[in-house]
C-alpha cells in the first residue's frame, strides 16, 4: 500500500470526501427540511464521486473505467432523485396543510 499519485482520480476522490463532510454537516444542523434535502443531495453527490473514482482507478480491459461502479452510480442517481421528489411532495403538502391552518392562504 503506497500513497496514491496526485492525478485526476485522487483529486476527485478527495473532493468526494470533502463533500461527504459538508453534506453531513448540513443534514445534521439544518432545521429546514428543504435545506436538509439539499444537504442530502450534496452528500449523495460526494458518495457517487467516490464510486466514480473507484471506477476510474479500476479502468482496464479496454474500458475507461470499471463499468460496475458506474452502473451503481446510475442506479443511485435515479433512486436519489425519486427520494428527493417524494420528500419535496411531502414538504409541499405539509406547507399547504400549515397554510390552511393559519386561516388565510396568502403569504
Amino acid at each position: 500500500m503506497s500513497l496514491a499519485p496526485i492525478d485526476a482520480a485522487t483529486l476527485y476522490g478527495l473532493t468526494g470526501a470533502v463533500l461527504v463532510g459538508i453534506g453531513l454537516y448540513g443534514i445534521v444542523l439544518h432545521e429546514g427540511f428543504i435545506r436538509r434535502l439539499l444537504a442530502f443531495n450534496l452528500l449523495g453527490g460526494g458518495v457517487f464521486l467516490l464510486f466514480g473514482v473507484i471506477a476510474r482507478r479500476g479502468a482496464g480491459a479496454g474500458f475507461s473505467g470499471d463499468p460496475v461502479p458506474q452502473a451503481l452510480v446510475i442506479t443511485g442517481v435515479v433512486v436519489a432523485f425519486c427520494a428527493t421528489a417524494l420528500a419535496i411532495t411531502l414538504i409541499e403538502r405539509l406547507a399547504a396543510e400549515d397554510d390552511a391552518n393559519d386561516g388565510d392562504g396568502s403569504s
Partner: protein
C-alpha cells in the same frame, strides 16, 4: 471459494418468488378492478406465506442455505440470493404477521367495494405488499448494493403508511422519518463504496472469505452501521419513531413497529457477525450494547410517562429494540464454538420474534380499543375489560411477553440473554435486562389495571368491531406466548448456513 456455496441449490427458485411475488401483486393491484384489490393483496400474501414456509422447510431438510444465482451469473459479477436458517425464520415471521395484518385490515380505511376508488385502501395494500417484498429481499439479498435498493424500497413503502391518515401531524412525522431514513441510506451507501474500493466485490459470501483487518473495512462497517442504526431507531437516533408509529393507522403501526425496523437490524447483524473479523468487534460490540442499554432504560421511562396508548406502545418499541442490541456484546463475548451456537444469539432472535408478534398484537389491540371507545387515553380505560374482553385479553398476553414473564417468547428471550450475561460474568448487562423488565411491567400495568377495574358508571361500547379482527390480534399475541414453549437452548436451525461457519 467454496464451490458448493456458489451454485443455485434445489429450491433456490423460492427465493426469487419471495421477492417477485409481492411485486407482481403490486402491479396487479393497480390494474385490477377496485372491488378486487383486497383479494389480490390477500392472495399475494397467502402465496408469500406458503413460499416462506416452503423456504424454511427446504432449509431444515437440506441443513444448508438455499442459494439462487440470478440470471445464472456468479458473484461478484452477478447477484446471488441466499437464505440461511435465520433468514428463513425471518421470512416466516414476516409472512405470518403480514398475512394476519391483512385479515385485520380487510374492509378498513373506508373500503367500499361498490363505491368509487379510494386513496387509503389503495395506498395501504400497495405499501403492505411492497414492505413484504422489500423485507424478503433484505433477508435473502447477498449483495450490499442490492440490499441498498431493498432498503430504499422499504423506506418508500413505509413512509406513506405513516402519513396514511393525511393529517398535519402525521405528515410531519412522515417527513421526519423520511429524512432520517434517507440520511441512513446514504451513509450505508457510502460504506458500500468504501467496500467496493477495497475489495472489488459487494457479495457478502465472497467478502467474508476475503476479509482482513484493514482500516477500510472498519470504516465501511462503521458508516453502514451508523446509517442502519438511524433506520432502526436505536437510541439516541430514536426520535423519529414514536410520532411516526403512533400516528399511523393501527394496522400500519403494527407492520412498522413489528417488522420494518427489524429489516435494518437484520443487516447490522449480518455486517457484524459475517464481515467483521472475530475479536476486532469487541469494543464496537460493547458500544452497541451500551446504546441498546440506553434505549431499554430511556424508552421504558418515556413509555411510563405517556398518556396515550399508541404513544406508549411506540415508546415500548424503542425500549424493546434496545434488547436486540445486547446480542452484540453477549454473542461476541461468548465462549461457544461460534457466536451462532451461543445462548445470546438464540436469545436475540427469540427477542426479535417475540417482540414482532407481541408488538403487532399490541398495536392492533390499540386500534381496536380506539374503535371501541373512540379514544386511546389511558386515563379513560376503566371498564374496558367488560366492553372489549378479547382485546383486553390480547393486550394482556402481549404484555406478558413484553415484560418477559413466563411462559412467553419474551421470557425465553430474556432468560437466554440473562444466562449468557451471567455465564460471561457480564453482570451489568443482566442488570439492564432485569431493570428493563421491571420498567416494562410498570408501563403495561398502567394500561391493564384500569382496563380490568370496574367503572363507576357502566361503560358502553361505542362502535361494533368485527370478531375476526379481534381474533387476528389475539392470534398474534398467542403466538408470542407460544414461542415461550420452544426449548431454552441454542437452536441448531439458527446456525444453518451462517457464512462465518462455512468458511474457515
Amino acid at each position: 471459494m467454496t464451490p458448493g456455496l456458489m451454485a443455485t441449490t434445489p429450491g433456490g427458485l423460492l427465493l426469487v418468488l419471495a421477492v417477485v411475488v409481492p411485486v407482481i401483486g403490486i402491479l396487479a393491484l393497480w390494474l385490477v378492478r377496485w372491488r378486487a384489490i383486497e383479494w389480490v393483496a390477500i392472495a399475494t400474501l397467502a402465496i408469500n406465506l406458503v413460499v416462506s414456509l416452503a423456504t424454511l422447510q427446504a432449509v431444515r431438510a437440506s441443513d444448508a442455505s438455499l442459494v439462487y444465482l440470478v440470471g445464472g451469473w456468479m458473484p461478484p459479477l452477478g447477484l446471488a440470493l441466499r437464505a440461511d436458517g435465520i433468514a428463513a425464520v425471518m421470512m416466516v415471521m414476516t409472512g405470518a404477521i403480514v398475512a394476519v395484518t391483512a385479515l385485520y385490515a380487510r374492509g378498513q380505511f373506508g373500503f367500499d367495494p361498490h363505491g368509487p376508488e379510494r386513496r387509503r385502501p389503495m395506498v395501504f395494500w400497495t405499501m403492505l405488499l411492497a414492505i413484504t417484498g422489500a423485507l424478503n429481499l433484505i433477508f435473502v439479498g447477498e449483495d450490499l448494493f442490492n440490499l441498498y435498493v431493498a432498503l430504499e424500497l422499504l423506506t418508500f413503502a413505509a413512509v406513506p403508511l405513516v402519513s396514511l391518515d393525511g393529517s398535519r401531524d402525521t405528515l410531519a412525522a412522515a417527513l421526519r422519518y423520511l429524512v432520517f431514513a434517507l440520511a441512513g441510506s446514504v451513509l450505508y451507501l457510502l460504506g458500500v463504496a468504501v467496500v467496493y474500493g477495497a475489495y472489488g466485490t459487494l457479495d457478502l459470501v465472497v467478502l467474508a472469505e476475503m476479509r482482513g483487518a484493514d482500516g477500510a473495512l472498519l470504516l465501511a462497517i462503521a458508516l453502514m452501521t451508523a446509517g442502519l442504526i438511524a433506520k432502526t431507531a436505536l437510541f439516541p437516533l430514536h426520535l423519529w419513531l414514536p410520532p411516526a408509529h403512533a400516528g399511523a393507522p393501527a394496522a400500519a403501526s403494527a407492520i412498522l413497529s413489528a417488522l420494518v425496523v427489524k429489516g435494518s437490524f437484520f443487516l447490522i447483524l449480518g455486517l457484524w457477525f459475517d464481515l467483521l473479523p472475530p475479536g476486532l468487534g469487541a469494543i464496537g460490540a460493547n458500544g452497541l450494547g451500551m446504546l441498546g442499554a440506553g434505549a431499554v432504560i430511556v424508552g421504558s421511562v418515556l413509555a411510563l410517562r405517556q398518556e396515550r396508548l399508541k404513544l406508549l406502545v411506540a415508546y415500548s418499541t424503542v425500549a424493546q429494540i434496545g434488547y436486540l442490541f445486547l446480542v452484540f456484546p453477549l454473542a461476541t463475548g461468548s465462549e461457544a464454538a461460534s457466536p451462532f451456537a451461543s445462548l445470546a444469539w438464540t436469545g436475540g432472535v427469540l427477542q426479535l420474534l417475540a417482540h414482532a408478534f407481541a408488538k403487532a398484537a399490541m398495536f392492533m389491540a390499540a386500534g381496536l380499543v380506539y374503535e371501541a371507545i373512540g379514544h386511546d387515553r389511558i386515563a379513560g380505560f376503566k371498564g374496558l375489560g367488560r366492553i372489549a374482553p378479547i382485546t383486553v385479553l390480547t393486550m394482556t398476553l402481549a404484555s406478558v411477553s413484553l415484560m418477559g414473564l413466563p411462559p412467553s417468547g419474551g421470557f425465553s428471550a430474556k432468560w437466554l440473554m440473562l444466562s449468557a450475561a451471567l455465564g460471561e460474568g457480564a453482570w451489568w448487562w443482566a442488570v439492564v435486562i432485569l431493570a428493563g423488565g421491571l420498567l416494562a411491567a410498570g408501563y403495561v400495568f398502567r394500561i391493564l389495571v384500569p382496563a380490568f377495574s370496574t367503572p363507576e358508571a357502566p361503560a358502553e361500547r361505542k362502535y361494533p368491531v368485527a370478531p375476526v379482527r379481534e381474533c387476528a390480534a389475539l392470534v398474534l399475541a398467542v403466538i408470542a406466548i407460544l414461542i415461550g414453549f420452544l426449548p431454552l437452548a441454542p437452536w441448531p436451525l439458527l446456525a444453518i448456513g451462517r457464512i462465518a461457519q462455512v468458511s474457515p
